[in-house]
Symmetry: C2
Subunit: 318 residues, 2 copies
Amino acid sequence: MKRIVTMGGGTGQFTLLSGLKKYPVELSAIVTMADDGGSTGLLRDELGVLPPGDIRQCLIALSESDKTLRELFLYRFETGRLKGHNFGNLFLSALEKMTGSFDRAVKKAAEILRIRGKVIPVTLDNVRLIARFPDGRQIEHESNLGKEKITKEATFFLIPPPIANPEAVDAILGADAIILGPGNFYSSLIPNLLVPGIVETLKKTSAKKIYICNLMNKENHTSGFKVSDYLETLSKYTNGDIFDFVIYNNQRPPQELLSRYAEEGEFVDFDDVLSKKNFFGENLLSDTLYEQKSHDPLRRTLIRHDADKLAKILMELK
Amino acid sequence: MKRIVTMGGGTGQFTLLSGLKKYPVELSAIVTMADDGGSTGLLRDELGVLPPGDIRQCLIALSESDKTLRELFLYRFETGRLKGHNFGNLFLSALEKMTGSFDRAVKKAAEILRIRGKVIPVTLDNVRLIARFPDGRQIEHESNLGKEKITKEATFFLIPPPIANPEAVDAILGADAIILGPGNFYSSLIPNLLVPGIVETLKKTSAKKIYICNLMNKENHTSGFKVSDYLETLSKYTNGDIFDFVIYNNQRPPQELLSRYAEEGEFVDFDDVLSKKNFFGENLLSDTLYEQKSHDPLRRTLIRHDADKLAKILMELK
């Protein structure tokens, strides 16, 4: 595997890229454009820009610039009118406003941060994520997703219907491997698959397709999911199972951590896939409990993947 | 003249540096730290940072990075909670908050912007400018200066009394020439001289000292000033005349422009210094009427110095 494409968003993709970049591979990160919460949501609303947050995390993960610049991109203002705004987001949004193009802004930021690889928005259209339930109810906007329970019967889509970024299509077609996840299932992974053309391209490419299952279920999103539930739900969006390999964690986090951080959700059970071919269970838990710094993109997740373990198992796939 | 130090702030210093950097000289810009209006003032109030605005302008003037990055530093947000904030100011303030040091932030920004020369805050202390009148009234803060008329009897000082930045002192001592102005007289020039140690160092250095007089008087600041009034007032802050050369403009701007932009103040008369030795009158007017772009630092001044004419007359001084 030489040319690797990751697909997702948020903390999960940051971790994955951080691990993979230690190997001599060509990396492209295809990134969700549905985020509209927090600093990103404010910028979308107030400046009319495309969502910078997930892109920023990938840029930092692949950056080979010095520590100060990388930390600056993660810096979050803590007081006044700027409170909650992330500097890297402001950077991307100012560049977008100035150049009139999110695409140019991402490329310029990539140059300044000296990234190894590519960071590719899955679409360059201004989209919002919608979940629709069989009874007609809708949850509008990604940032509202957690507010009520998402059932398996919900259907997700993007409005207005976007056009896939041609660079994303090219990256998928030219890849040796495509990795979906880890990441927030409905907020970060599915929105990539909802962009017309992406699933078709995933089916067309000769690349191996790998799904990395989350460690924890997210409350109101994937409550009660086992590994097989993730795959079953995925296949609804990919029109059938497309994955050659599935990677999951088989190590239960310490009970003390599970109960202390119960709000993060529940551990994902894997007994349903134990004997399945091409399903790889490993201890993927990070055993470092990082200090929660304001500029640490991982601060919101305490039970998380170990970047190096994740990269190692991926690089050993045949 | 090989090692040139400019001293001031704002648009004037930006113009001067832009002109001088075309010559093979070593440039150091010593910059006022008293600004507290606009975006800079908000950042000082809400984040407790040192004033980034004047520093940013000098960094841009000396930057050898590409146009996009320089323009980004000048970009001003136009909507939402970020309205009026200048991106370069946010950059410096985020770096300051993150590194805990304005000095380190300026040096890091200088590195990112690939500046030729040095940009040196006159002090690293958090100061405010005060004007006190003989009757005991005070105008507090630089940004309030224009609100009532400043008389020649006013006394200016900084609180709390700051310590001069040792790098500013070293730059003055090591210079071949020191240039004060052009720039807003009380807001940008005088605050540099109010930092204890700066005037003493100006007297100690063997550098030639040059004053560049403004083109226009500023209403409520220097109304009715002729060139000699500027020098007389300066000598109050330098304890006697310290300038080897005085440069002034001797070309009246077109009457149409003068009346159209009457709010910019009145033309500075120079008949009082016509026969004086080492006073050089030249046509220093810029005859380009720039489009007023939001990222143009000169947009607030329509009658202004020509950077190249200014640099040329300076480089010809013996």
